[in-house]
Amino acid sequence: MKRTIVPFGPQHPVLPEPIHLDLVLEDEKVVEAIPSFGFVHRGMEDLASKRDFNDYLYVVERICGICSYMHGMAYCEGAERIFGVEIPDRAKYLRTIWCELSRLHSHLLWLGLLADAFGFEALFMQSWRVREKILDMVEDSTGGRLISSVNRIGGVARDMDSAMLAGFVAQFDKMESELRALTKVFLTDSTVRARLFEVGVLTKQDALLYGAVGPMMRASGIELDTRKLGYAAYGKLDFDIITSNGCDALARCEVRIGEIFQSFRLIRQAVDKIPAGEIYIPVSGNPKGEATVRVEQPRGEALYYMKANGTRNLERFRVRTPTFSNVYSLLKILPGAQFADVPLLILTIDPCISCTER
């Protein structure tokens, strides 16, 4: 059969971010996908050698506007390891709460975008309506909606008083029941199922082979979550790793929905257990040494490497972000798919191009 090459992107209605794929088609079926990257490449890692390591924190937070909080936190954890300081317990709990709020807003954002990709606009609007409430909480506690800048090397810059925390938890019940109704549509509605069920299958072997991370991996039946390493206060809190054996787009949806409810559970526990005390210990001097940090972002595991040589600037800063790892799985699931499913499949890995290209 004759082959056609259809260029997809960088500007495409479904994708908020630029990614370019050359899709080799046979009729309506994709036989190969050839990606090209670099439309959002800025060169941030290089900037580490030009900025003071304290100022560089603000650059790291802008690797990605969605996981901004977690990037900042991981950078601070790395620096704290180099300095050899242990931050106060209260700061660890606060970090955990903010991390889970970021996960909530990121997963809700993804649910909305997914609904938009398969043409269910009302679901998109509803998911984002609930998301705004989470953003309100982030704004109340940090002052920013997306870029919060509350992390410092040595702790956090803002505290949340008990009235505020209780206020958040009080809103959770209503939000959870709203979300149950909403997510039921994703999981049981027949039109949604028709678009997601057995679409983009990534088997367990392939997930291992291609190094999938995060919900993409967990939806292929692999039980692994970096949060179980116990960074911040995760070691003291109890939560389940959500997995599914469906291996398809629906399973990925299921896993992320499950994680939304686990996040509520984690924040509730953290609010119950949070100790009183300091939130910051001053750290002075220049860092010298190396650190590697792994954190579980909404999209999967991110790995950071930092090397400091005793000057004001870091010698090397490197990030491997979850989308970078998941792109290989995407290129695996695209061949064989219908052309109309391509935007949807790209979304199922929850791509964050600005992380990947930095």
């Binding site: 500007q11 630029p18 060169g43 506007g65």
Partner: protein, 151 residues
């Protein structure tokens, strides 16, 4: 009043933003902010767009893409730079791959500050763009009318 001011179509392109401003642009479309109540509709097709929203600065790789999108849009058109990155390069200004703000590549009419720009200010920017668009259309119409009389 020119008809265009009642139903302008807007398009969004991500230059090299960190996603923060992108997501806020999308948030403008959702129930809480709902930019559609002003008659503005989001489209993915530059050939139908009147207002171009760009988030993030221009880098050496997407320069040609930004130019191409701008040229594909019908006149009159208005460009809105959303966020500090799009206005001047922002925190990424010193990065080796960043050329600078959007105005280093195409003419920008309206600058929306903020990092990330808040949905309220994005809506304000778009509404100013609508006014400007109407003015540009009126000017274009009177110019053609004057030409017609001269003949």
């Amino acid at each position: 009043m020119p008809t265009i001011s009642k139903s302008p179509w807007m398009m969004h392109y991500d230059g090299s933003s960190c996603n923060g401003c992108d997501i806020e642009v999308l948030a403008c479309l959702t129930p809480l902010y709902d930019i559609e109540r002003f008659g503005v509709i989001n489209t993915g097709d530059p050939r139908q767009a009147d207002i171009l929203l760009i988030t993030g600065g221009v880098n050496y790789h997407n320069e040609s893409v930004v130019k191409q999108i701008y040229e594909q849009m019908p006149t009159p058109k208005v460009v809105v730079a959303v966020g500090i990155c799009a206005c001047s390069g922002g925190v990424f200004k010193d990065c080796y791959n960043i050329k600078g703000g959007v105005d280093t590549t195409i003419p920008v009419d309206i600058y929306v500050p903020g990092c990330a720009a808040r949905p309220e200010s994005i809506i304000d920017g778009v509404l100013q763009a609508v006014e400007l668009l109407a003015r540009k259309q009126t000017e274009a119409e009177s110019a053609t009318a004057a030409e017609g009389e001269a003949q």
